[in-house]
């Protein structure tokens, strides 16, 4: 609280009445430029509040809405990209890859589309994950790694029942449905391990070979080379979708699992599908 306001003899100005260890402060008026700037700021704020939606419920006289500004910017960006997208829609993935300009655009757009739509299952770099999420960066393909095959898979999906052209196949539940006994399943698993030279029990593997020939060859092939027509994974390599251990293999023969992927045709712009095709192809496994 101001205690004692006095007049300063030297300047003729009142003091503020505050005192700190004998030091008193003159109550000089604010500099004019400061005061008027301050008033101008207040006036500016008032005008601003009238024009813009400044208070909940008040829409402002200008009718400006942040959301509309964003929508307009997005529309402008899309308009900028429209000619390029039209070209990408018309071209086949092979044509896109052959044209450096289209390829660069597709790579950049595909990267973003992949992060938005695919990375959830296949991983940020397409590395996949154990448990049915195939790696797109290796050289092993279930349904094919050519541009056409990749495009088809993206368009129609896998076992999602969203497209008539979807990738479809099913492996019988050999153990669970009693098609094979426990011992037979074990023998087949041993044979599967032998396809990649990992068998530990040659006798069991030999017994398993017979069962394999009767039950598995049709899809997985003589030497376990797999069949892309029916999405039967190759068994003779070192890439395993559900785990490489004997336990994992036994589990898959008993009660197989199968991944599902949505059909992106209809969900994504065809140009986007083409960009994704080119991008996935470039991840490292493209054929």
């Amino acid at each position: 609280m101001p205690t004692k306001i006095e007049k300063d003899a030297l300047t003729g100005t009142d003091t503020t009445g505050h005192e700190w260890d004998g030091v008193k402060e003159l109550n000089n008026p604010l500099p004019k430029w400061w005061l008027y700037t301050f008033y101008a700021c207040i006036a500016f704020a008032v005008v601003w509040m009238v024009i813009y939606p400044s208070i909940p419920g008040w829409k402002g006289t200008s009718g400006w809405v942040a959301r509309e500004a964003v929508v307009a910017e997005v529309a402008a960006a899309q308009a900028r990209n429209a000619p390029m997208m039209a070209r990408l829609r018309e071209a086949t993935p092979a044509q896109i890859q052959a044209d450096p300009e289209l390829r660069a655009f597709a790579q950049a757009g595909g990267r973003v589309a992949f992060a938005n739509n695919c990375a959830g299952c296949h991983g940020a770099g397409g590395q996949g994950a154990l448990g049915g999420f195939p790696s797109l960066a290796d050289d092993d393909w279930i349904w094919g790694g050519s541009l056409e095959a990749i495009q088809h898979t993206i368009r129609h999906g896998v076992r999602a029942n969203e497209s008539d052209d979807q990738r479809q196949s099913i492996m019988p539940r050999f153990g669970a449905d009693g098609l094979l006994t426990r011992a037979q399943v074990d023998d087949v698993a041993e044979h599967v391990l032998s396809l990649a030279n990992r068998a530990t029990d040659p006798a069991a593997a030999a017994r398993g070979a017979v069962i394999y020939a009767e039950n598995c060859v049709a899809c997985h092939g003589d030497r376990g080379e797999g069949n892309r027509e029916v999405g039967a994974p190759r068994l003779s390599d070192q890439v395993w979708l559900y785990g490489a251990s004997k336990r994992d293999i036994v589990a898959m023969i008993n009660n197989p699992r199968a991944g599902v992927m949505p059909a992106w045709q209809g969900r994504l712009d065809p140009a986007m599908v083409n960009m994704l095709t080119v991008y996935v192809h470039s991840l490292g496994g493209g054929e």
Binding site: T11, Q97, G123, S135, A137, D138, D237, Q238
Partner: protein, 502 residues
Amino acid sequence: MSTIDAPHRAKADRPAASPAAGQPLYADRVKVYPKRVFGRVRSVKWAVLVACLALYYVLPWLRWDRGPGVPDQAVLVDIAHARLFFFWVELWPQEIYFLAGALILGAFALFAVSSLFGRLWCGFTCPQTVWTDLFMWVERWIQGDRNARMKLDQGPRDANWWTRKALTHGVWLLIAAATGGAWVMYFNDAPSVTHAILTGRASLEVYFFFALFAGFTYLLAGWAREQVCTYMCPWPRFQAAMLDENSLVVTYRDWRGEPRGKPRDAATGDCVDCFACVHVCPTGIDIRDGQQLECIGCGLCVDACDSVMGKLGRPKGLIAFETLRNLSASAAATAAMPPGEARFKAGMAARHLPRFIRPRTMMYAGALAVVSLVMLGAFLLRSTLDVTVIRDRAPLFVRLSDGGIRNAYTVKIVNKTREEAPLALVLQAPEGFRMVVQDVPDDAEGRPLLSRRADGIAQYRVLVTVPGGQRVADSTPVTFRLLDATGRAVASTSSTFAGPRP
């Protein structure tokens, strides 16, 4: 506004403010009417002024052919394309340290010059001084010299006053506009931006900076003038750290001038108290009061006094560029002497040549030399072709069906030249490592051939594979090299190859 630390201003036209005298500590601006002056310093100042202004206004118009598709302006900061063009040099944003280096060089040069010759920068080359000088010249040309201007301002606001004032401000605004215009030319193609500004088609940014620089030129050179030096500029405050008693500064040789008086009075010194030095001073101070913060060292008072001394037939140099050391030496030598020829001779004899070689100047010179050498070295060793390699982190590595391991890299070729000839990429790695570059052809020897982008960055995806069965550590150093057509390595960079932890 603080009333405590308002700088002491001994305006010659009125008594010094002092709290003891019961006067306010705050001083209103007293308008300065500098008088026209002739002499050696003034001539040098005109020459420097013309040179500085010519440099500033003409530089953006110089052309420099860099080939098609590239700006042909000799000096240009191309913000949109992130390039700085300076004659034959072209800097990328990551090389902006060259600009920082040039500024550091400028700072040390300024320190060195200040410690040797005082406020040479302030008095002769500072834009504030140069443009104020130019504006004063316009003012004098339209409104007449000091007395005429004072009379005009004290007289009635008649047609004459209005015409002359309007004319003056009109010309000032034109100069200011040219100054703001020249500024934006350093950031835009000069002819086209001039055309765009004049036809109203320039961008908002261009108009903003044009108006900003034009407005401040008008404000600072037309209105604020010496107040910029006295109140706003930090340089007068800390230049004191560079000056010492061996620096050349504008000084009044009081040992010779005092006591002031009539020319014919034998008992007086050489100063005839004619106020010529005060009237020409652009900051309105009296140099005879000694060293002052307000003095920008322009030396115009030297010229003014020299011409007075010339007319009186006395030796020149009553006000001169002099060291404080000499000043006190002269003062000491003549302390007991009466005014006259003998005192002058004794005072002048007591002087020494200024000591230019001193620890302070040597230190500045040393710093200047070191920075120059570092800059020169960096500039000469500046690479115009770089290769950078970024290894994919997600996934760290990919296991292939044969058990092999693959790493993916993004290779970028940074090409600061217009050269476009493709370069072969080779991998230096242990036996068995194989490299594939996506979407590029091979050269005759089966090496992937990567094309460059002229003045740009070309990007490639590179896959390196170790076949199954080969053991690989969790981290193996590898090197990528770019070879030109003759097989010479022109750029290289190292990275690692990641494998599973053993």
